[in-house]
C-alpha cells in the first residue's frame, strides 16, 4: 500500500526540522566551548597545549564527519555506554565543531595586532584579563562572519546523523519516502527546508562581513 505524499506527510517532514535545529544548536554550543579552549591552546605559550590542539584539529579536519559519527556511536558501545544516537550525534558534532571553530578562532586571535597584547602586558594585565578584555573582544568582531559560515556547514552536516539512526530532517525524509516512493517530492522538500534554515544565515554572515570590512577600513 503506497501512501500519497500529501499535506500530512509534508508537515511531518517540516516538524522534523526541529530536531535538526536542536542538534545543530547543541553541537554549536558544545563546539563553542570546546572551540574556545582549542583556540586558546593553539595560541598558548605552553608547547604541550599547542601540540594537543594541533593534533586534535588535524584529526577532525582530516577525517570525514561520517567516520567521526561512527567512531563515537560504536565507540560508546565498546566503552560500555548504551547505544544512543542522540548522545552520540551530539558528542561527535560538538567535537567536530570544536576542531573547526578552534582553528577559525585561532586565526581571529592571531589577527589581533601583537601590540595590543603587549600594551596589555605592559600595563600589568595578566593572561586572563588581557584575553578577556583586550584580545578576545577584538577577535570576536573578526570571528562573527566565519563563525556563522561554519554554522551553516554544521547544520548541513547534521544530516549525516540520519545514518546512525537519529531522526532529524533527512532521516524523517527517508522514512516518508519509504512509505510514499516519491523521492523527488520528499527530498525536494527536505532540501528546501535546509535551504530555508541556511540561506538567512549566509545572508547574515555576508552582511556582517561587509560591516566588519567597513569598520576596519577607517
Amino acid at each position: 500500500m503506497i501512501r500519497i505524499f500529501g499535506w500530512n506527510e509534508f508537515l511531518v517532514i517540516v516538524m522534523a526540522a526541529q530536531w535538526t535545529i536542536a542538534l545543530s544548536a547543541i553541537a554549536f554550543a558544545g563546539g563553542s566551548v570546546g572551540g574556545l579552549l582549542i583556540a586558546l591552546m593553539r595560541v598558548s605559550e605552553v608547547r604541550a597545549f599547542r601540540l594537543f590542539a594541533t593534533g586534535f584539529i588535524r584529526v577532525f579536519q582530516g577525517t570525514p564527519l561520517l567516520m567521526q559519527l561512527f567512531l563515537v556511536f560504536f565507540g560508546m558501545n565498546i566503552f560500555g555506554f548504551a547505544i544512543n544516537p542522540w548522545i552520540a550525534a551530539t558528542i561527535a558534532l560538538a567535537l567536530h565543531a570544536s576542531a573547526f571553530l578552534g582553528e577559525i578562532w585561532r586565526g581571529c586571535i592571531e589577527a589581533v595586532p601583537k601590540g595590543q597584547g603587549e600594551a596589555a602586558t605592559a600595563l600589568g594585565l595578566r593572561y586572563y584579563h588581557s584575553m578577556r578584555h583586550v584580545i578576545l573582544p577584538q577577535a570576536i568582531r573578526i570571528a562573527v562572519a566565519p563563525t556563522v559560515g561554519f554554522l551553516v556547514q554544521l547544520i548541513k552536516g547534521t544530516s549525516l546523523a540520519s545514518i546512525i539512526g537519529f531522526t532529524e530532517l533527512t532521516r524523517q525524509g527517508q522514512i516518508i519516502n519509504n512509505a510514499t516512493f516519491s523521492p523527488f517530492l520528499v527530498f525536494g522538500t527536505v532540501a528546501a527546508i535546509y535551504f530555508l534554515l541556511c540561506w538567512p544565515l549566509s545572508l547574515v554572515a555576508r552582511r556582517m562581513e561587509t560591516r566588519f570590512s567597513r569598520a576596519t577600513a577607517r
Binding site: 603587549e118 602586558t121 605592559a122 600595563l123 600589568g124 577607517r218
Partner: protein, 259 residues
Amino acid sequence: MNMVSEIASAPAARGASDPAVRMEDVNKWYGSFHALKNVNLTVGRGERIVICGPSGSGKSTMIRCINQLETIHSGRIVVDGHDLTPGGKNVDLIRQETGMVFQQFNLFPHMTVLENCTLAPMKVRGVTKAEAEETAMKFLRRVRIPEQAAKYPAQLSGGQQQRVAIARALCMNPKIMLFDEPTSALDPEMVKEVLDTMVDLANEGMTMLCVTHEMGFARSVADRVVFMDRGEILEVATPDTFFSAPQHERTRFFLGQIS
C-alpha cells in the same frame, strides 16, 4: 668591552646608590643575531635618559627588556630594587611600576579613551570604577584632552592618541616611564604636542627612558644620552658632551647623518 662598562657605570646624575634601573652584562640573541651585547646601564631615580642610535641597534629591545616584553639570555636587570630574573615572580610587580608608551600607540580600539585608562587600574590594582575614572580624568586633563574621554581612539588624531597612551600608562602610577619612539609614527605637526607632554612629565621628576630621534628633546630634557649601535652601548654622556664632543667615531657619523 671593559671600556664600555666603565663609561656605562659612570656615576649617574642622581640616586646612584639606589637606582631605578640597573642592567648588568645583559645579552640577548634573536636566533644567531646578537641583539644586545654586554649592556651595562644604571639609571638613577628621577633621571631622564634618551637612547638613540641607528635602526636595528637594539634601543627598543633594551627598553623592552626592562618590563620583560623581551626576555634576556644572560646578565641581570634590577628594576626599583626588584631583581628581574626571567620567569621570576617580580615580573608582575615590575610591569605595574613601569609604564610604557609605544610607537604605534596600541590603544585598545574597542574601548573609549576613558575605558582605556581605567581598565588596568580596575583589573590589576582592584580600584573601584569611580576611583579609576577620577584618576583617569586627572591624567587626561594633565595631557590636555579631558574632553575626548568618551570618544574611541579611531576618532582622535595621532597626537591625541599618543597623549591618551601616556595618560593610560600614568593611571597605573608608574615609577618609571619607558618611551619607545613615541613620536616616530606621528605626522610632523603632531610631534610637538606629544613632546610637550613628555617635557611636562620630565619636569615633574618622572624617571624616563626614552628611545627617540628627537635630538631637540634629548638636548633640552635628557640628563644623559645613550648611544647604541649593533647591540652595544657605545657612549653615555650628558647632552652637552654628547652633541659637542662625541667620543666615538660611529657616534659622530650618526650625528652627522641626522643633523
